[in-house]
């Protein structure tokens, strides 16, 4: 038990052992696979047409936004070059499917169907369409375990998108809540502020949406304000997640090796 925390080889062996667990998760996932198949196969024509219309409209909209984004990105790169910053914004992603969740409600962990053979690594950020979900904590041969940002043992550096204020968002074991630690009572933070990852922990890439502030309680008797936020990602509803391959990490690694 303690070994699991103390020794790295033990953790690695544990991750390798997860290949034993793969058939269990495969079997346990069958009912939801069947319902998913039913949902996608048994559909009326009207719904399909409606969906098609909605999706093509959405695509046009997104394409328009991407056009703007491309020029913005180019501009950003130029500005960063001017600043001599080495941060690269371009991240590649890999789609994975959630095949299981931790049976223990105290542990906010999910199991995804990608592993070592797909190049996953421990500490890799995981996002969904709406925001940051968590990070990979165990890579097995065929499946990996992801710790969600709402787990009680998880904290990540964030900043307020509006004014760049930095803080740390901690999970409290509830799927709809994160808490910002040590925010001074006079800080400029408001309900509705978007929190994005600040990249300071060297683990998550910069700029992914993390949460929206839902409550700011300033108690005159306390030196810090209580700031609650709700995660942007659909932590308990997503079926597919994206694994981010951050190029920055390679750079950091190379730097560490050469230095």
């Amino acid at each position: 038990m303690y070994g699991g925390q103390r020794f790295e080889w033990f953790q690695q062996a544990n991750a390798k052992l997860s290949i034993v667990a793969t058939p269990f998760y495969w079997l346990a996932d069958i009912p939801s696979k069947i319902s998913g198949w039913g949902k996608s196969t048994i559909r009326s024509r009207e719904i399909l047409i409606k969906d098609n219309d909605r999706l093509s409209a959405e695509t046009t909209l997104l394409k328009a936004q991407v056009q703007k984004l491309a020029s913005l990105e180019a501009e950003n790169v130029r500005l960063r070059e001017l600043l001599n910053s080495s941060a690269i914004l371009d991240d590649s992603v890999l789609v994975a499917e959630i095949i299981g969740v931790s049976p223990d409600p105290l542990h906010h962990q999910i199991i995804i169907n990608k592993g070592e053979s797909d190049g996953l690594y421990v500490g890799q950020p995981v996002i969904d369409a709406l925001g940051l979900m968590g990070q990979v904590i165990g890579v097995g041969p065929l499946q990996s375990r992801v710790l969600l940002i709402t787990d009680t043992s998880h904290a990540l550096p964030v900043q307020v998108n509006r004014n760049g204020l930095r803080s740390v968002a901690e999970g409290v074991g509830l799927y709809h809540q994160l808490i910002l630690q040590h925010v001074a009572a006079t800080t400029d933070i408001k309900v509705g502020d978007l929190l994005v990852s600040s990249g300071l922990g060297q683990r998550f890439p910069v700029g992914y949406p993390v949460a929206t502030v839902t409550e700011v309680i300033v108690d005159p008797g306390q030196s810090f304000a209580t700031v609650k936020a709700s995660p942007s990602a659909l932590l308990n509803r997503s079926r597919h997640v994206l694994l981010v391959f951050s190029h920055r990490r390679e750079e950091v690694d190379n730097g560490a090796q050469s230095g």
Partner: protein, 162 residues
Amino acid sequence: MVLNQGNGHWVIATTLLAAILLSIVPMPLWAQWGRPAIVAMVLIYWVIALPEHVGIGVAWMVGLLQDIVAGTPLGQNALALAVLAYLALILYQRLRMFTPLQQAIVVFVLIGLNQLLCHWVQTLTGTISPNLLFLLPALISALLWPVLSAFLRLLRRNYYVN
């Protein structure tokens, strides 16, 4: 006789593996805390029914497998189930005489202990439950015990497990 013996082992192994499978089936959010400790229940049944075949060793191995599958610290369920099997081995002669209701009460205590041990190990590794909800599975398991034991008895009789 030899055939029956082999048959019996397969039935025991299959029920235990099925229990592990059931222990990771996703539950809706509202029911998350009440997931019955199905592996512990199946194990208690086999210890009471066949104490000469299923004992602490089997419990330990099943617990290790459950740890690997559920991703809990390696040894958590192994420890809890081994203790559970030990207690059931001490109690099995009495438990066989009990009515289903009396058995359910003992199962409530045993599984409560199982949950406490699991939670104790988790506390060592840094996950602390904010409340006593982690004891809820003991109640649910006790309520399910008459059904599960009747089902397993049926299996045992049908496949001549002895």
